[in-house]
Amino acid sequence: MKKEFVQVISQKEIAHQIFELKVRGEVVADMTSPGQFVHLRVSDSFQPLLRRPISICDVDVKSKTLTMLYRKEGAGTVLLSHKREGETVDLLGPLGNGFPLDTLSAGQTALLVGGGIGVPPLYYLAKELKRRGMNIVSVLGFQSEQDAFYNEEFAELGEVFISTVDGSLGTKGFVTDVLKNEDINYDLLYSCGPTVMLKALEAQIPDANGFFSLEERMGCGIGACFACVCHVNGGSPSDYVKICSNGPVFPIGRVAL
């Protein structure tokens, strides 16, 4: 992990309030594990004070280019959305532990389930798994058509199913409805999205094998502040994991959701 002022190459809104930010820097060479995240300082002042954890959506190690997708929501991401080509961003990373890439063998199938702003890290994962000869099936859930993004990008890597809450695109409902309706054969499940979605997945597929990437409000992002701790299943009441430094990726079932 390093701190570096990376340079903004491009920034554009690709769906409703969803921005794609591409930056270039030496530190990108270290971003070889999909599922890790970066911690961005969006202001030189104390307002806002803390960094913003943003997932890694895509990496081109050769051109040292990092792609991030984020939802413009609070004061921090509003400021981030103002960054223009040529400006710099204070980036700390890569942080956390990514998805294991060697659990499957070539020819096996990975099911990727993403919800909303949990979709981006699955893209880099899909590319890396595909490169290793695995088959990719993606199930992506959004609020509505205007919130959906990267459908075509995922489609280039394998079969894609979309769900939207209002039914404006794909299956009406949630990712769990897609899994109910479609008979998808797969060997391992990888998922990232809101905790309610991960809980629903756990309930629907009790014997699921694979990995979840979790979200929690963070302070430092490096494991020092104890803001993002979660209980673990089957442990004593004082057992815990820190989402930022022990995760954000965990084997399914490890963390009490």
Binding site: F46, I222, A224, C225, A227, V229, S238, S245
Partner: protein, 312 residues
């Protein structure tokens, strides 16, 4: 000549800078960023008698130029800390400030007796000011007689000097400082966080699961400066100043207020390199201010002009 050395009871420091308790874990994370030996000292996360999980999440919320936290003294307990967390600090030339907390006087004394005898521990910091636990801190920190009684008991069982960490959530902090000084405290740490709250407009509920949290960061700096300015003139024991320190200039301001050393808390979360960065900037700043040694600044805001300042 090293212009930055500071000598306090139990703490021979290369410079006056230490990460504040609760903002540095047990050092392992920051050791991945820089050599911890550059620090003047380090205050580790509070130890309690038994392991504590702490409060439910969300535990933090941002505020204007600051943050609220209600971690709730999460720690693996004093025995685990001594066995698993302190040994790795051996590889650094770094005095350790062991912060201790508890729910009862017996808890504090048990933790103090044990951890003060660990070879890596230089001094204790008696946490009577954590606002985020129902029991275990603040109830000892808002009444002068209670604070003094606890200080006396902990002093009696500790084999190392004891600094008492004061809460700003009192009407008269000087009264608290004088009471613990009288009870035998070797030094003071101040200030802990200010009790605060944020409410979410959508849910109409407090943002933090614990409802209230401790406010830290640049927003509280003026409060800390005022309190250190006041207390340092009333007591004769040294003060480790803290509260929103984010730059070398802030360090100077705290020392002018009356602090003999300065702890950095929330700023570590914003920039993990902040401590070494500040340490490297201090010599140039002193030169610019025409100051030969940093200890000359201590209490410089209230000491009479021309009076040589005491190095504490």
């Amino acid at each position: 000549m090293n212009k930055l050395t500071v000598s306090l009871p139990g703490l021979e420091m290369k410079n006056p800078i230490m990460p504040a308790s609760g903002c540095f874990g047990f050092g392992k994370e920051y050791a991945g960023f820089y050599d911890l030996s550059v620090l003047g000292a380090a205050a580790i996360k509070a130890a309690t008698r038994e392991p504590r999980f702490g409060n439910p999440t969300p535990r933090v919320a941002e505020t204007h130029s600051g943050m609220l936290n209600a971690i709730g003294l999460q720690n693996p307990g004093v025995d685990q800390i001594m066995e698993n967390e302190l040994p790795h600090l051996q590889s650094y030339d770094l005095p350790i400030v062991a912060n201790i907390a508890g729910s009862t006087e017996e808890d504090y004394c048990e933790v103090a007796r044990k951890i003060s005898r660990h070879p890596q521990v230089s001094v204790l910091e008696l946490n009577i000011s954590c606002p985020n636990v129902k029991e275990g801190g603040i109830q000892f920190g808002t009444d002068a007689a209670t604070a003094a009684a606890l200080t006396k008991k902990v002093k009696a069982v500790s084999s190392k000097p004891v600094y008492v960490k004061l809460s700003p959530n009192v009407s008269n902090i000087t009264e608290m400082a004088l009471a613990v000084e009288e009870a035998g405290a070797d030094g003071l740490s101040m200030i802990n966080t200010l009790l605060g709250m944020r409410i979410d407009l959508k849910t109409r509920k407090p943002v933090i699961a614990n409802k209230t949290g401790g406010l830290s960061g640049p927003a509280i700096k003026p409060v800390a400066i005022r309190m250190i300015h006041e207390v340092s003139q009333a007591v004769s024991i040294p003060i480790i100043g803290m509260g929103g320190v984010s730059s070398a200039e802030d360090v100077i301001e705290f020392m002018l207020a009356g602090a003999s050393a300065v702890a950095i808390g929330t700023a570590n979360f914003v920039d993990p390199y902040i401590c070494p960065e500040i340490i490297s900037q201090l010599p140039k700043l002193l030169e610019k201010m025409n100051v030969d040694h940093i200890t000359e600044l201590i209490g410089g805001s209230w000491k009479e002009c021309g009076t040589p300042s005491l190095s504490r």
